[in-house]
């Protein structure tokens, strides 16, 4: 198995399911929990890990509806992140979710792709049917972003196995996969899972996958797959911004990517203190 080659302190921030444009849980315009304040809470938390290199993994569903002005709100959010980490290297990895897809458009991921390029300045993150898996090598890790909707049909959630295998084969380091959809049904009748999940898991075990990150479920999830050295972790993250019902989470996850392939997972829940109405972040055991 390959080893990470870096001594740099690399932190990976997994944020997903922003749903910009949806009615927010609180009055963002004047209440205690504005978009700016959420960005500040995330930034403060990441800063406490003192990263030298920061990988921001954006797990899709950036807007609630795939229109450019909602991506525009998202850009402002990420500008805050960029400003806060000017002295440290930031690498973005990004994949689309079902809300980034406009099935009726001639270019179903058109608005998402323009947002992804503006953020990453990397043409690799322009997704199409022929290009659904993206590989970027960073700090001794192979970062793989997967479009689970490469079919461009909302209800056909799949990984392109050939493209994924080709990318995994060419990966030079231990692999972290970022995708929107989950692999295991979360409730009875859950139809939104990756339909060829078993094959994806097999590929992961075959090609040195260490961590698979996903969103979509708006709650947390953590599973180990495989045994001993042939194993990886699946970590699902709650939604960062939108209004959520009971049993769901406003969440972000931070991973310390150690040089010895050790990955430490820290999950955080965004909460409002009911008595004082003050927003805050508390660690979440997952």
């Amino acid at each position: 198995m390959s080893q990470p080659v870096t001594a740099t302190k690399t932190i990976l921030l997994h944020i997903t399911d922003f749903h910009f444009g949806e009615k927010p849980p609180y009055d963002y315009a004047k209440g205690p929990l504005t978009f700016d304040r959420i960005a500040e809470l995330v930034i403060e938390c990441v800063q406490s890990f003192r990263p030298q290199s920061l990988i921001v993994a954006i797990g899709g569903d950036v807007p609630n509806k795939a229109e450019d002005y909602f991506y525009h709100d998202a850009k402002k959010f990420f500008n805050q992140l960029n400003d806060a980490f000017r002295t440290c290297k930031i690498t973005y990895m990004i994949c689309p979710g079902n809300h980034d897809l406009d099935e009726k458009a001639e270019a179903p991921f058109g608005a998402f792709n323009q947002f992804a390029f503006e953020l990453t300045r990397n043409s690799a993150y322009l997704f199409s049917k022929d290009r659904s898996v993206v590989l970027v090598e960073q700090d001794g890790w192979s970062l793989v972003s997967v479009n689970t909707l490469y079919s461009e049909q909302r209800h056909k959630v799949m990984v392109n196995e050939d493209q994924l295998e080709a990318v995994l084969k060419s990966a030079r380091h231990p692999v972290i996969i970022l995708q929107h959809h989950h692999l295991i049904p979360m409730y009875l009748g859950d139809q939104s899972i990756v339909q060829n999940a078993y094959r994806e898991i097999r590929l992961g075990l075959q090609y040195d996958l260490r961590l698979l990150l996903h969103g979509h479920i708006h709650s947390s999830c953590r599973l180990n797959v495989g045994i001993e050295k042939r194993s990886f972790e699946i970590v699902g993250c709650g939604a960062l911004l939108p209004s959520l019902g009971a049993d769901y989470l406003n969440q972000f996850n931070i991973f310390e990517l150690g040089g010895d392939v050790h990955i430490a997972v820290h999950a955080f829940e965004i909460v409002i203190d009911a008595s004082g109405g003050r927003p805050g972040v508390k660690p979440k055991i997952i």
Binding site: A29, K30, D68, Y69, H72, K75, A105, E106, A107, F109, G110, A111, F112, N113, Q114, F117, E118, R121, S123, L126, F127, S128, R131
Partner: protein
């Protein structure tokens, strides 16, 4: 003068990215020149596909309801017929008849338009397009002149328009061995404003007046809030007052007719809409004297604030 060029391995998105680096926000760059040579298939690239829907709207004739005007309006007024292809046919015919022609041009503005159009009426910044062929006929050259160019949000649409023109021309010039597309953009005044509306109208400004009045009568505050939120989201060069005026009028009439037991909209709603309209008037006056005046920015924020007050009070009743 600022010259921005792409390398041979780069694509349209890189030209856009370099333009954004050359023109930071809150600056104004005179004579920005953007230039790149791409494969003739570049208009099929993934990045530019995201701009083609809006680019088609800008090339359409007549203009779609959500735009203040379209470039198609200004191109096709000189041609008989209503298809954009008439304009393309003109360029293609020129190039076919005389391959070294210097007349394969579109001029969107005339002296009359420039002289006679009032300051508060928008006219195209895209003024001239010229098409040509290299000597070996392997390269299609498109050069466009803009009197002003917003590089963050409008440039992708403009590049999309040039791609549409290039693809359509390519289809009509299949007898030439075209392999490359050279794009050149000359912008007299370039600026970078990610909030710019790109001359799109807010939905409230093209929403049917009767439907709006019915929504007010039916106390459909969700719809009214959505329309007002759409208005706050757009940063217009000249703020269109039509929709807010119609909404205020409908609410005032509803309130006058509201009988006992029938809900009337809170005074905060009518007051803030009235104040917003006053501020819009002042803003539009300021904009006729300068496109870059600081007071314009301040007024814009005040208008947004008033509209947000109206939204917040929509479900509060008299």
């Amino acid at each position: 003068m600022e010259i921005v060029k792409t390398n041979p391995s780069e694509h349209l998105e890189h030209l856009w990215a370099k333009a954004n680096d050359a023109v930071p926000q809150k600056t104004r760059v005179f004579n920005l020149i953007l230039s790149g040579v791409f494969p003739i298939e570049e208009p099929k690239g993934i990045w530019i596909q995201g701009s083609l829907k809006k680019a088609k709207q800008w090339q359409s004739y007549p203009k779609p309801v959500n735009l203040i005007f379209s470039h198609g309006d200004y191109i096709l007024r000189f041609f008989k017929g209503t298809q954009i292809n008439r304009g393309i046919d003109f360029l293609a015919d020129e190039l076919r008849q005389k391959t070294d022609t210097n007349r394969a041009c579109w001029s969107l503005l005339t002296m009359e338009l420039l002289r006679d159009t009032p300051q508060d009426v928008s006219i195209p910044s895209f003024m001239v397009l010229q098409a040509g062929l290299s000597e070996n006929k392997e390269r299609l050259i498109l050069t466009a002149y803009f009197r002003a160019l917003e590089v963050n949000r409008f440039l992708p649409i403009n590049l999309g328009e040039l791609c549409l023109i290039a693809s359509r021309l390519h289809q009509k010039l299949l007898s030439f061995p075209l392999k490359e597309l050279e794009l050149n953009i000359h912008a007299f005044s370039a600026y970078n404003d990610p909030d710019y509306s790109c001359l799109e109208k807010a939905e409230i400004d093209y929403y049917d007046n009767i439907d709006l009045t019915l929504a007010v009568g039916a106390l459909d505050t969700t719809l009214i809030a959505r329309l007002l939120e759409g208005k706050t989201r757009l940063k217009e060069s000249q703020i269109i007052p039509v929709g807010v005026t119609a909404l205020l009028d409908a609410i005032q009439k509803h309130n006058r007719r509201a009988k006992t037991g029938m809900k009337a909209y809170a005074e905060e709603v009518t007051t803030s809409l009235t104040d917003a309209l006053e501020l819009i008037k002042e803003y539009n006056e300021v904009r006729t004297t300068s496109s870059y005046h600081q007071r314009g920015g301040e007024l814009y924020e005040e208008i947004r604030k008033e509209l947000k007050i109206a939204i917040d009070n929509l479900t509060k009743w008299k």
